[in-house]
């Protein structure tokens, strides 16, 4: 098996000291908790592919094509391993070998397409291109940001695996948290963008390990704030959330033009709430730069204080 592009990365693959500091920051690992899905695990697999120690079976290559390119792993890697560059070259080599990409790569569910080219224009990574009379996806360019999802009028664009960060899964998790009898104090959902400031450790592990008595809110990680549909925010309110907070990157820091989309969508939901007589500020949008978990905590605390003052939905001023 020839993996031409990968050869140049051998030093970096060896330089990874496999400390594992990366994997708690990875949304894919956080979803499955299998080390094979972590950045470290993927580098081990890539090393195995390069050295011919494992085969490029569909199960193996599915891991290589499963990544949201949030680059949180690169941010915490003191060895300076350029994980996503290595991953992209591995993908390109595998495609040359005829591998069919799966994982988190975007695709069109149906070959029937209105050819509005909305997804081609929206894709910030030029992964969707018009070839002949159809839209094709370049799996080496697709970063699975999901910006293409909500722009398709035919609801035809899809991402492969969601790893708990897809809209449907977020909607389900929010509803479960808000409705569970063991969470009597549940009041709010915080949709946190994985690219910007999701404080990896706080959200990744504490939910699972530290018992928070009577949690009032749940942090759910969305791959990019720009892919969070309005219906997911509204569904949380329908499940008696007192409020919904959406977090994205500052617009000039967003790699996917997602902040603009997210802000627009929250504004639309706020308008809708106002029209039905509810307090618009029950749904809010905030922007935070990468790597400031304390600011994240502060903003969430401020939001919760405001929501508590507002009280339960459709009471104290809110009209049914």
């Amino acid at each position: 098996m020839e993996l031409e592009r990968l050869k140049k990365w051998e030093h970096q693959l060896n330089a990874c000291i496999r400390c594992g500091y990366c994997y708690e920051f990875c949304p894919v690992y956080r979803s499955t908790r299998w080390e094979t899905d972590s950045p470290r695990g993927k580098l081990i697999l890539i090393s195995g592919l390069l050295h011919g120690e494992i085969e490029a079976t569909s199960e193996t290559t599915d891991k290589i094509f499963s990544c949201f390119y949030c680059k949180q792993c690169e941010g915490v890697c003191s060895s300076g391993i350029p994980f996503t560059e290595i991953l992209s070259d591995t993908r390109a080599d595998l495609l040359d070998l005829g591998v069919v990409p799966t994982g988190t790569i975007s695709y069109n569910e149906s070959p029937h397409c209105a050819m509005c080219l909305g997804c081609v224009r929206a894709c910030p990574h030029e992964a969707r291109v018009l070839e002949g009379n159809r839209v094709v996806i370049d799996p080496t360019a697709c970063q699975s940001c999901g910006i293409c999802l909500d722009v398709c009028p035919g609801i035809n664009t899809r991402l492969g695996k969601g790893f708990d960060a897809g809209p449907e899964m977020l909607q389900k998790q929010a509803a479960e948290f808000l409705s569970a009898p063991e969470n009597p104090a549940a009041k709010a959902i915080v949709f946190a963008c994985n690219w910007s400031n999701v404080p990896g450790l706080e959200t990744a592990r504490l939910d699972a390990t530290v018992q928070q008595p009577d949690p009032e809110y749940k942090v759910l990680v969305t791959a990019c704030a720009g892919r969070l549909p309005a219906k997911v925010m509204l569904d949380a309110l329908e499940h008696n959330a007192w409020g919904v907070l959406v977090n994205g990157c500052p617009e000039d820091e967003c790699e996917h033009h997602g902040s603009h989309e997210a802000a627009k969508r929250v504004a639309a939901v706020q308008r809708l709430l106002g029209e039905v007589g509810a307090t618009p500020r029950r749904v809010q949008y905030m922007e935070l730069s990468k790597g400031d978990p304390l600011a994240f905590e502060r903003k969430v605390t401020e939001f919760m204080d405001e929501i508590r003052k507002l009280g339960p939905p459709f009471q104290r001023g809110d009209q049914p």
């Binding site: 051998e10 030093h11 060896n14 330089a15 990874c16 000291i17 496999r18 400390c19 594992g20 500091y21 994997y23 708690e24 908790r33 299998w34 080390e35 094979t36 695990g41 081990i44 697999l45 090393s47 195995g48 050295h51 120690e53 494992i54 085969e55 079976t57 199960e59 193996t60 891991k63 890697c77 003191s78 060895s79 300076g80 450790l201 592990r205 504490l206 699972a208 390990t209 530290v210 018992q211």
Partner: protein, 477 residues
């Protein structure tokens, strides 16, 4: 050794918690060491009863079981040298009880060290035996290796914080060891035997740990030395005088260069830095310890800089040390850092000589080595930096490892201070403990007569680490 029946494993823990695909086996065959070997299955138990059922099954069929936490060990402790079942314990990650009045907490083995400390913080206490890898290291792994860390100079290693535990034995039997009290004098303290046993005696499913108050005052500073030898003597002087520091860390010039290359922290270009820290409830007491340390270091040519009580300043000073290990691969574009000869402990009076020996041995064998570590607790770390793609590098590394451990033994030191033995240090361990190996083997037989628990490690590991398993690197002539 027999192969596990996957359907049987799935019936015990559920199909979502069993993996047997080659990709998963390949990943779980590695840790942070140079070693690699394939297991037959990876299984994630979620509760004690599942661990019991798994061990009963494995024991009846002679299948190896290798308990694993986060796989951050550096000596190959969790590399399945004889195949078998890797028992990934991270699903068992609940903090069961925090009892400030009785000064203990109970946790499951998959709890990550930093998470425990976050949960303890609101109670004004902390778990002190924290290693540098606390962001990912699990309590189970720390206990299995008797981990220690930067504050062990004052608060001791893991063993000092373990009051008791529940362990599933090889035959599936669950036993409760130790107590929930500070002292205990009731027979053999088997819970202490399990600390550092590297998964060879049983599978811990619950630990009772003590903790200590978070000090009101904490101050840290850097002492710069133009001579590594002088820094080594300063360590001996400070510890010999009984100065109560809460941290005394050495960072040598190789490590300084690597950290500056990796993070541009602007660490001073000197031969050695000592990080010193003192803590306590009374500021004058903290000042006194640091002033005593300063004077002793100055007596050996050291210059104290950046002393600060400010948490942000302290964090900045400590950042280079915290990230030192992963930064070592940035020392040079042609070399990478390998987890070899990674830790040892020597008497304080030999600290200076050991630091010098490390560099002397490295130069003789054509590799680069660092000298750093928690020297206040006698612990010296190093790593071998080399071009891992060249066979001759590995021959040099083999000689260097043998020479450094022979030196450590000759001065009354020990093979491992806190990283354990696993595979890569087995030869040195066997030489050091030659007259007690038979007792250890008898203990192992008493707990695990069928030798299913992490077989082929410690005294049963091959003598030559270089050929003990496949290496994670591929080298050519």
């Amino acid at each position: 050794m027999s192969k596990p029946d996957i359907a049987r494993l799935e019936s015990i823990v559920g199909p979502d918690h069993v993996k047997q695909h080659p990709a998963d086996l390949y990943v779980y065959g590695s840790d942070s060491s140079v070693h690699a070997a394939l297991p037959d299955a990876v299984v994630r138990p979620g509760k004690t009863e599942e661990v019991q059922a798994l061990l009963r099954y494995a024991n009846d069929h002679g299948i190896p079981v290798i308990p694993r936490g986060s796989g951050s060990g550096m000596c190959g402790q969790v590399v399945p040298i004889h195949g078998g079942i890797v028992l990934e314990m991270k699903r068992m990650n609940r903090i069961l009880e925090i009892n400030p009045a009785d000064v203990y907490c109970r946790v499951e083995p998959g709890v990550v060290d930093d998470d425990l400390n976050k949960a303890l913080k609101p109670h004004g206490v902390f778990y002190p035996a924290t290693p540098a890898s606390s962001r990912i290291a699990t309590i189970g792994g720390e206990i299995a290796n008797n981990a220690s860390g930067v504050r062990s100079v004052k608060y001791g290693a893991t063993r000092e914080s373990v009051l008791g535990m529940k362990v599933v034995l090889a035959n599936g039997e669950l036993v409760t060891l130790g107590a929930r009290t500070r002292v205990e004098a009731s027979g053999y303290q088997l819970e202490r035997l399990f600390v550092g046993s590297e998964g060879t005696l049983g599978v811990m499913v619950e630990a009772t740990l003590s903790f200590v108050p978070i000090p009101t005052f904490r101050a840290m500073g850097m002492v710069l030395f133009d001579s590594l030898n002088n820094a080594g003597h300063a360590i001996g002087a400070v510890m010999g005088k009984g100065v109560a520091l809460s941290m005394l860390e050495l960072v040598d010039s190789v490590a300084i260069k690597a950290v500056n290359n990796a993070m541009d922290l602007g660490l001073p270009d000197v031969e050695a830095i000592l990080l010193i820290e003192a803590d306590g409830m009374v500021k004058e007491a903290v000042d006194h310890e640091l002033e005593t340390a300063r004077k002793l270091c100055e007596g050996h040519g050291g210059r104290l800089t950046q002393l600060s009580y400010d948490p942000a300043e302290r964090a900045k000073i400590f950042l280079g040390r915290k990230k030192l290990f992963p930064a070592l691969s940035k020392y040079s574009d042609s070399m990478v850092s390998t987890a070899l000869a990674d830790d040892m402990a020597v008497p304080y009076s030999k600290m200076a000589e050991t630091a010098g020996k490390i560099h002397e041995i490295a130069e003789r064998n054509g590799v680069v080595m660092t000298a750093y570590g928690h020297c206040g607790s006698g612990c010296m770390h190093t790593k071998i930096l080399m071009d891992t793609t060249k066979e001759k590098s590995w021959e040099g590394a083999r000689r260097a490892v043998a020479e450094i451990y022979e030196y450590v033994r000759s001065v009354g030191g020990t093979t491992s201070a806190e990283h354990g033995v696993g595979l890569s240090k087995a030869a040195a361990f066997k030489r050091e403990k030659a007259d007690s190996l038979e007792i250890m083997r008898a203990v192992k037989r008493a707990f695990d007569p069928n030798n299913i628990l992490n077989p082929g490690k410690l005294f049963d590991a091959p003598d030559d680490w270089l050929t003990a398993t496949d290496l994670r690197y591929v080298a050519t002539k």
